[in-house]
């Protein structure tokens, strides 16, 4: 079978063909919405028209069969129209109220999980991990699965003071939104790369390897036509490994997961915030990472208990102060928490007013 005529630079399909008629008609003329259930909301247009969205969890890493299942459901209840959210959930877009309940029932029957709308945990923005990336210090999909299993009730039913956005990145490149998430995990190394002097001369370009190191820890080793690592300067970022595969940095024992919290993206109330380090390292204990889920549990429960309505994790912490946060969560405070990077001085406490 000969291949069809290839085309280039056509860009993506125009979105309009994928909008259900009710959306085409009321495009840009929505008036308000109501959250009916944790997985169902209705948007009402100026015209009075309504569109129901039924939100269903997805593991993001899905098979073509999963997509076809979605298509089946969409065909049955919403003329084949659906979308994904920016957090990888599926949203069925229903224009006929009578089909909402049957759709929900059908999804339940299929073992699907609905939820994530409102002041809840939603799906997790994450990355490739051991499934596909050479750079990963931990897996992403596995961590996401165990976290969502653990906190499933906060997706399907229970409410929190506000939305809690999780993110997982498998290395410090932090593909995704770890740096601005309520609670996020990032895979970290803790030992310098070990130069493979046999391979470096042929595999790597020495000058660009040296240049790749943000801390200047790499210097030439002319005798070996290789490089040396100054272990005191290395902060295990793995950037050199990205440039030179003969600088392996993975270490099953010392790699692990750091937890950062208190970030947000939205501009509501307070400016977007960066996440801050709270657990510098927890062990990689696949497939269940019990230390990680446990740690998150402590944080989430302290937040659920301490935060006022509409406070995001970071807003709650800002109100009570980091010293109090460490107290109520009982997280040990270590040297790693104290910034020693470029902007360290902005993080030191410059006031005599703090809590005991």
């Amino acid at each position: 079978m000969s291949a069809p005529q290839r085309k280039t630079d056509i860009g993506p399909p125009h979105f309009k063909q994928f909008l259900p008629p009710v959306i085409q008609k009321n495009y840009g003329s929505w008036k308000y919405h109501e959250v009916l259930r944790p997985g169902t909301m209705v948007h009402v247009a100026e015209s009075g028209d309504k569109v129901w969205s039924v939100r269903m969890a997805s593991p993001r890493l899905i098979s073509t069969d999963f997509v076809r299942d979605i298509c089946d459901v969409a065909d049955k209840y919403c003329d084949g129209f659906f979308r994904f959210t920016s957090r990888h959930n599926v949203e069925f877009l229903v224009s006929d109220e009578s089909k909402v309940k049957p759709l929900e029932d059908d999804l339940k029957k299929r073992g699907m999980v609905m939820g994530g709308i409102g002041s809840r945990v939603s799906n997790i923005v994450h990355t490739q991990g051991w499934v596909h990336c050479h750079s990963a210090a931990t897996d992403a999909s596995g961590l996401v699965k165990i976290i969502m299993d653990e906190f499933i009730d906060y997706f399907t039913t229970k409410e929190l003071p506000n939305k809690v956005r999780f993110a997982v990145a498998c290395c410090t490149n932090m593909c995704g939104a770890v740096h601005c998430s309520d609670i996020a995990l990032v895979g970290v190394h803790r030992k310098p790369p070990i130069p493979d002097h046999a391979r470096i001369p042929n595999t790597c370009e020495v000058p660009s390897t040296i240049a790749s190191c943000p801390t200047g820890a790499i210097s030439p080793d002319p005798a070996k036509k290789s490089v040396k690592i100054n272990n005191d300067k290395c902060m295990y970022c793995g950037n050199c490994y990205s440039v030179c595969p003969a600088l392996p940095i993975s270490d099953p024992v010392n790699d692990g997961v750091a937890i950062v919290v208190g970030g947000k993206v939205t501009n509501l109330r307070t400016a977007p915030k960066f996440s801050k380090l709270v657990y510098p390292w927890l062990p990689n204990n696949p497939p269940k990472w019990p230390e990680v889920t446990n740690a998150i549990k402590g944080i989430l429960e302290a937040y659920a208990k301490g935060a006022q309505k509409h406070e995001r994790v970071g807003e709650w912490i800002d109100r009570i102060g980091w010293e109090k946060f460490f107290k109520v969560t009982k997280i040990p405070f270590t040297f790693q928490h104290i910034d020693d990077f470029t902007f360290a001085r902005e993080t030191f406490r410059t006031t005599a007013a703090f809590k005991w």
């Binding site: 290839r6 969409a74 999980v113 994450h126 897996d139 601005c180 790699d255 509501l268």
Partner: protein
């Protein structure tokens, strides 16, 4: 496809009530050799607690410099099905809208030419086809492109823009996020497919300051819809919220960051000149409050992940820009920014990093934007600043 590997570790991740990616891999593995070997390879990673992927070499399709991420196993003998396992980034439609017909077709092709595994979506926004062999890339591309799909970005190029659902289903969208995204994607096809920049450049567009696409945290150019004019208040709806048990003072008035709201037990008043358009009150009282009527966007530049000197959030550069097709002002601004970045940017230096290195003045003067207080949280602290000769006597 018969079961090839025992996966006692991964199997544990099929329990629990959240849908399981392991189940998905197994579903694909049932009919696909590559997926089958991925399962084994991944179990091996779980066992060894380390990745078994090597660096991607440069692979791709003819005429394109990006859109495919090359990937090779470091234990190909053990898992020959994933010896190569490249991902193909398909540019998603604006707002992640689909219909069953289009996706069924695409999934069929992917079963034919790839692993049968996907990401809906990658965190940049692409529809990611996860894992295929080098020799399948060309035929796959011919098939998908002939059906109206194109590749997304990778490498030192413009990356696949993405946006929130916006006017497609949201009452707060001040701009047509879907159309803007489609429009700039089309405009900059060349910049997307043929990497020629110092590094990657990302666009993300949100209809309002709620920023449901997280544009301010992860786009070199963040476009965020906003308005001028007074917030529209429906006082009857205010009463409805009060009656339905909302503690308006605690939830709304006292949480307004600029303290520009008041509530006398009956009506809400807003001192609009002090409102910072943070969206809190509007989001929590959607029936009662609506944005003002003059619509546009704030353009912010520079956000990125933490390498090399810490993460950046985007910075306000153009406080208000009208956003009407064909978005000429935005496109001109973009070209100016790229021109400046092309000229001064070092290899692997993002736009935000370059602005930091060269100074905001150099950047603003080049792109022709005047200094404005909206660009800063606060003025500089130190007394060390430059003067240009024409500012002196």
């Amino acid at each position: 496809m018969p079961k090839k590997y025992d996966t006692p570790l991964l199997d544990q991740l099929e329990k629990g009530s959240y849908p399981s990616f392991v189940t998905e891999i197994k579903k694909a593995a049932a009919k696909n050799e590559q997926a089958n070997d991925l399962l084994g390879a991944l179990e091996q990673c779980y066992k060894d607690k380390k990745t078994h992927w090597k660096h991607g070499g440069i692979v791709g399709v003819r005429g394109y410099g990006g859109g495919v991420i090359g990937r090779y196993s470091d234990i190909p003998d053990q898992f020959p099905g994933v010896a190569h396992f490249h991902t193909v980034r398909i540019n998603q439609p604006s707002g992640f809208f689909y219909n069953s017909k289009a996706l069924r077709e695409l999934m069929g092709l992917w079963d034919q030419y790839g692993s049968g595994l996907t990401n809906f979506h990658g965190s940049t926004g692409d529809l990611v086809l996860l894992g295929t062999k080098t020799e399948h890339l060309e035929p796959l591309f011919a098939e998908v492109s002939s059906r109206g799909w194109d590749l997304g970005g990778s490498g030192s190029a413009m990356r696949t823009p993405s946006c929130c659902v916006g006017p497609g289903r949201c009452e707060w969208s001040n701009i047509d996020t879907l159309d803007i995204t489609y429009n700039i994607t089309q405009e900059f096809q060349d910049e997307m497919h043929r990497p020629a920049f110092p590094y990657k450049f990302k666009f993300k567009t949100s209809g309002c300051a709620v920023d449901c696409i997280a544009s301010i945290a992860r786009a070199d150019c963040s476009i965020i819809g906003t308005w001028k004019g007074d917030i529209r208040i429906d006082q009857d709806a205010v009463k409805w919220y009060a009656k339905n048990g909302m503690d308006i003072n605690a939830e709304i008035i006292n949480r307004c960051p600029t303290r520009c709201m008041s509530y006398d037990g009956k009506e809400i008043k807003i001192a609009n000149e002090d409102c910072s358009r943070c969206m809190h009150c509007i989001a929590k009282m959607t029936k009662a409050l609506r944005p003002g009527k003059e619509k546009g966007a704030t353009i912010l530049i520079g956000s990125k992940a933490p390498f090399v000197v810490g993460a950046l959030l985007s910075w306000v550069i153009v406080p208000f820009m009208k956003m009407e097709p064909p978005y000429t002002e935005l496109k001109e601004l973009t070209r100016k920014i790229w021109e400046w970045w092309d000229e001064h940017g070092k290899n692997r230096e993002r736009t935000g990093e370059l602005i930091e290195r060269k100074g905001m003045r150099n950047f603003l003067e080049f792109i022709g934007v005047n200094p404005q207080p909206a660009m800063i949280k606060e003025p500089r602290r130190d007394p060390f600043y430059f003067w240009q000769p024409d500012e002196l006597k």
